[in-house]
Point group: C2
Amino acid sequence: MLEPDRAAADSEAPRASAIAERLREQILSGKYGPGERLPSERELAERSGVHRSCAREALKRLAQEGFVAIRRGGGARVLPLEQAGLGVLQHLLMHAERPDPSLVSQWLDVHELVIAGGARFAVERADDAERARARSLLARLVEPQLPSAALWSVVDELTDLLAVASRNVVLRMVRNALTAQLRVGRKHVDNCPPHKALVQLASAIGRAVQQRDGDAAETHVRTLLRAQRKALLSRLQNA
Amino acid sequence: MLEPDRAAADSEAPRASAIAERLREQILSGKYGPGERLPSERELAERSGVHRSCAREALKRLAQEGFVAIRRGGGARVLPLEQAGLGVLQHLLMHAERPDPSLVSQWLDVHELVIAGGARFAVERADDAERARARSLLARLVEPQLPSAALWSVVDELTDLLAVASRNVVLRMVRNALTAQLRVGRKHVDNCPPHKALVQLASAIGRAVQQRDGDAAETHVRTLLRAQRKALLSRLQNA
DNA sequence: CCCCTAAGGTGGTCGGACCACTTTGGTCCT
DNA sequence: AGGACCAAAGTGGTCCGACCACCTTAGGGG
């Protein structure tokens, strides 16, 4: 019942992880709709050929991720997806072999809100080391013949830096939650904006950093993120 | 070792919850610094007077919340707080009897970014029922002699509505994560903005909803949230 | 001094058991 | 026939004890 090959995705608690993953898949594919009851710990254990404690651990994990709610005596009931935690996102995006473009678009919208807003705080509060690192990253951004993949990777580093420099733990946590284990799968984004526009944008952001101009930083970082958005979505639809 | 009174906070898995809560407390208060090892499952069990499986469940919970990382053979090591998941926020805010104003301020900043940004999407995409509900909430907002607590409760309902109407699941999830079990403790905010300003603001937001004016919605919702911010923070410092 | 091995410690899983609680079905009364 | 009530079955929470695979660490050998 359990293929050790695929189950080995998680080196820790492989059996529990495998069961949890299978349940997630079944929930996301609609086999268990909102309000429905998942199999009990005992039934799940027997059906999966593992001990009850193992099945229990899988169910507890799903509960903590917000997929289901567990109540003593009643079973594990599936929760509406929009009521689930942020951790569900990664499974929502991954459970199909190609992520849903609409969902990715929503993800990008929120990411843009948070990061562009954070850019304002970042340029106002960054220390000298962080500003120097920003300059360095912006310089790498406009290197001629930089491969597209490397370019977007630099952009990712830049947004990371912004989150840190914003001096806002909550913002960092939100970004962590948004990007957790999400970097995989978005490699090989082969298109990128025209180099000339990029140079202009990088210099504008650099100026904002230098002058601690929050408004300008927000505006131009948003522009950069929109370029990334365009590249990602077009890649997603043409692939 | 376990006080049933305080442990009864969680009706489900009370023993595991109590142990987890105690560990969280000790981590947040610095008894276990980043990188340090928590007691092993067996030691924790013996020390707490519960079975190992119970202590284990508590540790697993902390791991999933991002407090610690568990590795086979190595123990449970405390993770840097800014690397933790959003779930730690609620414990970060609650672990002192009075939340840290600086942290609350950061929370409010992010909340403002997300909701004000979401307001733009919301007014552009809301259906008639949602717009009607927005009108109704805005009307309640300007009721004369409305108690401050009720006023802020209406504001919360309004932001909820915005998150739903934004048609952005990711945004809803982020808001859920930000507000999860956080409504408690912020009751009795006794101050509120001048009624005249409130009337003006409500009418401005209503107009934005009616005309589906995204820019205006973002601007005025942000103003409303800043008023809420001011009230909350002053309440926090004077209490 | 470093590398490498072996012992101990740790988490992961197993098997079985009891309790408290919820659900559910049927019985009994109205 | 309908509703209130009660008992049995089912479910999660906890306990007990055990084994295994893996990591850590201390010790011995080079």
